[in-house]
């Protein structure tokens, strides 16, 4: 026969488990929201470069306007995190997860701003012919988007080694950026009339380089989430 005391213990344990389940569900929802936000950001980056290649001002305007949705998503996730911290007082891995999310969504939001920046450049360029064929810039975009997606995958499976590997790809983006920079400077020196248009392309490359840098921040947060260590310039061990 169950004693009243045991019954009470059992009930409170059940309640505790249910609350724990609810908390876990909130964490899963936050992660899903962050993944959705990352998809919005990668799409914006990808489409901004397509818009540049095709000098598609209409799409660029949509990207510029839709950045607001990325910003809104960031605030929505942040609010959920703050609410969970306030009401559940998470510790250990749960706490690190929320801190990591808060940091990652800030980076994602800034990456969205860089995509918006590229879209604005496309709008400003309008029909002005591009000063050079776009080869390295789309390659930078490809790597940056690939890094972003891989970082989200590493986050979802809590793989700090993968995060360290992704970080290395930033070097490739930096290298391409310097190459684009050198090339555009040569063009400007050769043909000063192209300075305005060249500078705009330089800004596009700069934005992509910054996007990749932001992914390295995300990777650092993944390492923090998994290991608890806050390390800058992480590399595969």
């Amino acid at each position: 026969m169950t004693t009243p005391q045991t019954q009470t213990d059992h009930t409170s344990r059940q309640e505790s488990n249910t609350m724990r389940e609810a908390f876990k569900n909130h964490l899963v929802t936050i992660e899903k929201d962050m993944m959705a936000m990352a998809d919005m950001v990668t799409l914006a980056i990808n489409k901004s470069i397509i818009a540049l290649k095709e000098q598609d001002v209409a799409t660029a305007k949509i990207i510029r306007n839709d950045d607001q949705f990325i910003n809104d998503k960031r605030w929505e996730i942040e609010e959920k995190c703050i609410s969970l911290i306030a009401t559940q007082q998470p510790v250990a891995t749960d706490l690190r997860e929320l801190i990591a999310v808060l940091s990652i969504i800030t980076d994602l939001e800034r990456m969205g701003d860089y995509a918006e920046g590229i879209a604005k450049i496309v709008i400003k360029l309008g029909d002005t012919p591009l000063v050079k064929p776009l080869i390295d810039i789309p390659r930078m975009e490809e790597i940056a988007v690939e890094m972003t997606r891989a970082s989200m995958k590493a986050y979802s499976v809590r793989d700090d080694q993968a995060a360290r590997r992704i970080n290395k790809q930033d070097d490739q983006v930096d290298e391409l950026y310097h190459q684009v920079q050198r090339e555009l400077i040569s063009i400007m020196l050769e043909k000063p009339s192209t300075i305005t248009a060249s500078t705009k392309l330089l800004w596009v490359a700069h934005n992509l380089e910054r996007i990749a840098d932001r992914v390295t921040n995300i990777c650092e947060r993944i390492v923090f989430l998994v290991t608890g260590e806050m390390i800058e310039n992480i590399r595969e061990e």
Binding site: K32, M35, A36, N46, A58, T59, F69, V91, R96, S156
Partner: protein, 337 residues
């Protein structure tokens, strides 16, 4: 058009097929046809969240006692080890307490540093109070209790046959879960009871000590005009601070606190926590608490006990952000206990 939108939504939401998450999470405006080109490449990715859900399940199954968990980590945190540079005031070495055939705590070794707050946490019956009571020989009063191992105070074993337990309890004071004012005594007499016990009668000295102890316990201003009233007339929080004042009156080097705020309201709890924060400038404090947020707020280091074993001890900051043992993580995260 519909096909195109479907393609777009797949691109936006590679999670959709396996988790059901997502399309609703993405603003419709992002589904604009302008985004539709080259999107099929991203479709058909495996759901990362699905993996996360799996990992949540598996991680909760990982918690188990391993041989490595039997030997607690006492390294503390690398970043802000509060014990760095401090000397050890007390220390237990392989401390075991048994009640007949029941083991209360088993071979617990912890250094307790000078002027630190060490919190002992763990589920009910884990041995934290048993450990605390061993630190000032309270088990001497329990006939079936047997203590083995060593408890060192300034390097000397307090269980040595030549040591007088009364002297030890003067140097190592204790505050209990429930406020324990002597009901027939006035506030004043409560505070100086310990001094009178050792034969001090000089009024000026007793007055001075009473004021100092009540001030240290953050109670003096509230009771200075009614020192002759019974201690039992004070509120619960004030009675607990009176108990602390009584413990402080004999100028202890170490103060043991056994869930001192468990019967108090939040405001009184806050006063006691503030008091602990102030007191650690003068005394070493070891506190048992069931309230993990309290342990996180007030202690420099935390020790986690489970079924009589010390599982982990380290800097509070590290223990609550990156515990080294699965059991600690599970307990402080509320997964058991």
């Amino acid at each position: 058009m519909i096909q195109m939108l479907n393609r777009v939504s797949r691109f936006f939401n590679p999670l959709q097929s396996t988790t059901g998450a997502g399309q609703a999470d993405i603003p419709q405006a992002f589904m604009h046809p302008g985004y539709s080109e080259n999107m099929h490449a991203a479709s058909g990715q495996k759901s990362p969240v699905s993996s996360r859900e799996q990992s949540l399940t598996s991680s909760s199954q990982k918690t188990r006692v391993t041989s490595s968990e039997q030997s607690p980590d006492s390294s503390g945190g690398k970043s802000a080890d509060p014990s760095a540079g401090k000397k050890s005031r007390m220390e237990t070495r392989d401390l075991t307490v048994t009640y007949g055939t029941t083991i209360g705590v088993k071979e617990v070794s912890i250094p307790i540093y000078d002027k630190e707050v060490l919190a002992l946490i763990g589920p009910s019956g884990c041995g934290k109070t048993t450990y605390l009571r061993a630190l000032n020989r309270m088990h001497d009063l329990t006939r079936i209790a047997k203590v083995t191992g060593q408890v060192l105070l300034d390097g000397k074993d307090i269980y040595h046959k030549d040591v007088n337990p009364v002297n030890i309890r003067r140097r190592i004071g204790m505050v209990f879960q429930k406020p324990t004012p002597f009901p027939t005594m006035s506030i004043y007499d409560n505070v100086i009871a310990g001094l009178k016990l050792v034969g001090i009668r000089k009024k000026s000295l007793l007055d001075e000590v009473c004021e100092r102890a009540l001030t240290q316990a953050a109670l003096f201003d509230e009771v200075k005009d009614r020192l002759k009233q019974p201690g039992s007339e004070l509120s619960g929080g004030q009675q607990q601070r009176l108990s602390i004042a009584r413990a402080l009156a004999v100028d202890p080097e170490v103060l043991l606190m056994d869930e001192p705020t468990s019967s108090l309201d939040p405001q009184s709890t806050n006063r006691i926590e503030e008091l602990i924060h102030t007191l650690k400038d003068h005394v070493t404090i070891v506190i048992v608490t069931h309230n993990m947020q309290q342990a996180a707020r007030i202690s420099d280091r935390t020790a986690f006990f489970y079924v009589g074993n010390l599982i982990e001890v380290g800097a509070t900051n590290d223990l609550f952000t990156k515990p080294k043992q699965n059991q600690t993580e599970a307990y402080i995260s509320g997964r058991f206990g």
